[in-house]
Symmetry: C2
Amino acid sequence: MNLDKYRNLTRDTEFKYINVHPIQRGGVLTPEARKAILEFADGYSVCDFCFEGRVDLVENPPIKEFTGDIAEFLNMDEVRFTAGCRHAKWTVMATMLDKGDAIVVDSLAHYTSYLAAEANGLEVFEVPHSGYPEFRINPENYAKVFEEVKEETGSYPKMALLTHVDYRYGNLTDPVEVGKICEDYEVMFMLNTAYSSGLMEINGKKMRADFIVGSGHKSWAATAPIGFVATNYEYTDSLFSTSKIRGRWSGRGFTKKEVAFFGCSPVFGAPLVTLMASFPKVVERVKSWEKEVENARYFVNEMEKIEGLHQMGIKPTEHTLQNFEALPFHQVAKQHKRRGYFLYTELKRRGVIGVHPGLTKNFKINTFGLTRKQIDHVIWAFKDIAEKYNLEVED
Amino acid sequence: MNLDKYRNLTRDTEFKYINVHPIQRGGVLTPEARKAILEFADGYSVCDFCFEGRVDLVENPPIKEFTGDIAEFLNMDEVRFTAGCRHAKWTVMATMLDKGDAIVVDSLAHYTSYLAAEANGLEVFEVPHSGYPEFRINPENYAKVFEEVKEETGSYPKMALLTHVDYRYGNLTDPVEVGKICEDYEVMFMLNTAYSSGLMEINGKKMRADFIVGSGHKSWAATAPIGFVATNYEYTDSLFSTSKIRGRWSGRGFTKKEVAFFGCSPVFGAPLVTLMASFPKVVERVKSWEKEVENARYFVNEMEKIEGLHQMGIKPTEHTLQNFEALPFHQVAKQHKRRGYFLYTELKRRGVIGVHPGLTKNFKINTFGLTRKQIDHVIWAFKDIAEKYNLEVED
């Protein structure tokens, strides 16, 4: 076994390049979190003063208060931290639904939403999108699918999930509209905010969300893995249900441990601390979301000056994550000795990384948190590459 | 909302004190891991060069090779990383067993073993221990309980779990003996090495383990949360079973994603990198385990010179985690104005932390990784406190 490969693990990408990776922009740490991660780097670092045997009840560092502050920030009643948003979705489905139950999800949902349903043996019904090039989810279709579920299964579904902002096109769907429909049909409403909370303001009560799940490493300037689930008092007993098992021989019981969170949620290390340390800045940054969207629209506008390149999804964009279709780049790739990898390589030479290596026909870019100067550099890089390969670029 | 409490999160405990916290000694980072954590601090930091959509297949940093190296180190065939050992246990039970199935566990098992069974709707049968003061698990009793299960349910259990080293007394139970019994009965054998792998050598094949689970933050000098599950080829198809779901409307499928790992296991950040960075030192340190046990026995011997204080569990100890019974300290606590907290406070004043605040009658101490000089300091602290409260201390 050659151990040398583990001896000097470095990631020069983040420091030497502008990173436009679609899943990484919202997870870049604040300087405060970088400082805190070293303080709490060791193993179970937040357990020094654990008296209750559950990480969400630890008061030093102030995790207990933090769950309250996150709940307040989202206008929900209670919060627990999870091993990523995927674990959060699984906890909601595992505790609120039974095997064989129907769940309605938007057809742009993240794969982990489908997998959480699969792991819990649920029947997934999809809300269609409008197809190419907008891929829009129409909230009214939730009602239509609820009726279809009733027709097929005899009753309305127990739960619906909306992906607030989807990971394929960065489309934003209005949760208030979906929430109202769920309320009318008495269907529990889970909102996946992996690409929204931590970037933009979220008002759970106004959105009529029963469950809000989110991702610290995706959108709250935190180290992976850290996610959360927020709910309202109506559901806390079920979602946070505690262990009822009793040792047959020993009589042992664990009545304070919450089952869907593996007893004490495995967030007892540095990732949770980075989430806390970044929180004051996150509270500030959601107020600047409009500026971020303005930057994104400027970026799209400039990128579309390249021949044949256009943003897919809802226009003008309402998010910093874009999916571009670029057929002329695809044509170049067909002739290029590096095939699809030419774009990645050409961008890297120009100081830009994060476009998926090998992709040219479609690729995703996230401009969240970049300065106008950095965005201009990315635009320049794409235009310069286009010109090198004799594509038209508008002035 | 007062955000000031999040502005300067510090943990002075690790740096100013000798920490004997039972769950923390094996998770103290190596200097190499401390360096790596800053490199990979941002969100999804290991996803820069993800081509396959699964973290265990990433080649830069060398995660794919790392899964192979961990498997080799444990003498098993394949490995996946998980959100802690608790998630690993859940994945094994979720994929290999059905609701209502029986599982046999030792009665010293960690609470997360019981909860993983509870979350999967399993029926837990316990292997008794020998009671006070040794609390020994006799491997032969596994056969006895298998027979009891057959008597009660009509068939032998499908799976048995052994806690290699338990968290209450630090008792070590021989997995080879249990493994042989499981082999004879054709019962799948899961070995929980949360307190052993990463500290001592583990030979999975020799132990006849079908599944080995472990904890990076508990015993491999890594940041929480990071765990793993190792298995042999016989079970890889089931344990790592991939998604079969198909979008009814969209036709979407995710055939590369492993269901019990939430598709792509949520270990795509700094914790996994710390595990990798510490690995060369971990490979070395398991060779010095005997020295650690020798230090622990020296520690116990000195501690037992204090009147009425004695180590519980198997003697001489075979692990660095000890559970002490200290009735005279408990008597002091009854009279003390700080009650049980006096011991914590007195120790902290003497530069020692990690004994659970409030406990005096029973408390746990882990000496793993401490130098002889540090161990002598801890001994001095206890003896000095004993003398202050007029307890006898042997010379």
